[in-house]
């Protein structure tokens, strides 16, 4: 392994991680400085739920696609969402496994799993790029950051898939690109929409608490009464 690849796999990643953590910390601090609106309203609704129950339901809706019409009626979009995010998990894991636990990649099953997940995420990324460009609604709501983040992640998946075997016998180009992209990704994320997962627990909890207090969450599908 060349010095430059070693630098990219270790020092550069560590610098990028520290940078990302610092900006995230500042971002959360900034977010928490806003005053939390006080809810004084007495509970409404059928009374068999409460803010805590509502918050739990709200946080879990993303893994229960049947709870939202938007995910229930678009199973293909939901499947894309799952594959895309599994790809993120796999690529992040790979960026740690290669420098700190390369022995794990002796397992052909693990390599295949990572290749499958990042490969599938790459295909979904391409589909999402096409959708973002060709769908007039998506075009109208997209910012340069949306386009760039999607292209960045899609390219990253492609290189992650190729780098999963951790084989540099044919040259270091793929590995080098994967780690450079990873470092750039880590430093870019806090400034981009990719950091949405930082807000997810907050927004869903606030929404769930309010809707729980009002008996809206968990959503009702069947009569909760037995009079008739």
């Amino acid at each position: 392994m060349s010095n430059i690849l070693h630098f990219s796999e270790h020092t550069l990643q560590e610098i990028a991680l520290v940078f990302m953590a610092t900006v995230y910390f500042l971002r959360i601090k900034w977010f928490l400085k806003w005053t939390l609106g006080k809810e004084r309203q007495p509970a409404t609704g059928m009374g068999d739920t409460n803010p805590k129950k509502g918050a739990r339901y709200s946080l879990g809706m993303i893994i229960k696609p049947w709870t939202m019409e938007s995910t229930r009626t678009k199973p293909f979009m939901y499947a894309q969402f799952v594959l895309f995010h599994l790809g993120v998990v796999a690529a992040i894991a790979l960026s740690f496994i290669i420098p700190y636990g390369p022995g794990l990649l002796k397992s052909a099953a693990l390599v295949s799993a990572i290749q499958f997940m990042t490969g599938a995420a790459f295909i979904v990324g391409i589909m999402r790029i096409i959708r973002r460009i060709s769908n007039p609604y998506m075009r109208a709501i997209s910012s340069p950051d949306d386009h760039f983040s999607l292209i960045l992640l899609t390219s990253w998946f492609a290189f992650a898939s190729m780098a999963a075997s951790n084989d540099i016998s044919g040259g270091e180009g793929i590995m080098q690109t994967f780690f450079l992209l990873t470092a750039f990704f880590l430093m870019y994320v806090p400034f981009s929409k990719i950091s949405h997962y930082l807000y997810y627990p907050f927004t869903r909890t606030y929404m769930g608490r309010s809707f729980g207090r009002r008996g809206v969450f968990p959503l009702r599908k069947k009569p909760a009464y037995d009079t008739v």
């Binding site: 977010f31 938007s70 609604y137 950051d145 949405h196 009569p223």
Partner: protein, 454 residues
Amino acid sequence: MNNGKDVRSYKAQKVIDRMGQKLSRQIVGSLTACVHCGMCTDSCHYVLANPGDPTYAPAYKADLIRKLFKHHYDWTGKVFPKWVKAGSVYTDQELEELKDTVFGKCTNCRRCTINCPMGVDLATFNRMARGLLCHVGIMPEGVEYVAKEQWEIGNQMGVLKEDFIGTIEWQEEELQEEMQDPTAKIPIDKMNADIVYTVNPREVKHDPRSILDAAKIFYMAGENYTMPSEGWDMTNFGLFNGDDDLGGAVAARVYDNVRELKGKKLVMSECGHGYRSTRCEGPNWAKQDIEFEAESSVITMLRYIKEGKIKVDKTKNPGSYTFHDSCNNARSCGLTEEPRELLSLVVEDFREMYPNRAENYCCTGGGGAMSMSEYKSRRLKSGKVKAEQLSATGAKVVVTSCHNCVDGLTDIIGHYNVGMGVTQLVNLVANALVVDDRISENAMKYAGEEAVTA
């Protein structure tokens, strides 16, 4: 002004400054968390009625507000404004354009809210944006007019106290006639009543029959209730124009009158936004906790039947009925099961509308849209999905627990020739009342009194 971009108009600056005062963490979360995934797009009735026009997409509309937040209050927007679509407003014309969207292209129905995987509540910050514009006097004429009536006269329709009392007395006479009981009363300002009953001014001005029907139900239940001569309007235009001060003042007026009359419970007639404003948001706007119970008349009526205080006969309401959930009742207050239970008790043929409950579509009259005549054609067009929902039920009558929805649905039914009637639960419950025993008892008494007088 240089190209209108270097110098900001007085109003534009005020809007930006006030935004800083109105941002809560919940709103900031919603303004920050959108990933532009587009999953909310076709949850909006405006989008469904205007295919191919992205300016109706919830995320597009949200971005018109979000760009101000990003530019002025979020440092990512300050560092890379174009990259994240941050931007400011400089001219009054730009504020007018924003008005067209926040008032004219969204009914704050929250359907996109419950369909957003990220938990972005556009309706809440759209309301905030309305409030910012109203603060500088930029709003539809009808909104300004109604808000002024509620500030100055104390109710949305400018009903004077003597007219209110006159209407109640008139309905009291009707009650005596229908119940054949000259002692039947609609009490006004009675102290220590178990229920203080508040209504929508539309009932006083255009639909006094609803007051009479409620009075019949209270009469049959033997309820110790009263209507207040002040603070009887439980509707609240503050919900629609985004003015928390108006919202707080109106809600406080209702609460204060319940306290003054030493009422035990506040009951609100069927009105979605009134219920949400008075029951849910009012305490927040008025910054006070309410110590007495408050409930929708739907729950009161249901309880009377369950407790045997009134008897109903569903054969008195023949025909087929469906139920339209008011957005404010269902999606913002969880009032979905009680109206269905009640309806099933008073009609023979109840058919669900799909989608329903918290997923129901807006009647198009939400968010104060009925008062914005300049957007009427847009509103009616957006009602296409509602008209299809109604038609698919095959029912002859649509029932709703909201006066706004009655008007919104009536417009849609007329515009799309759906051929359906619109009514409320109070009318059906009153019609289904089994009153024969009470009437014959009173009639004998009445006849006896008349004989003595003669």
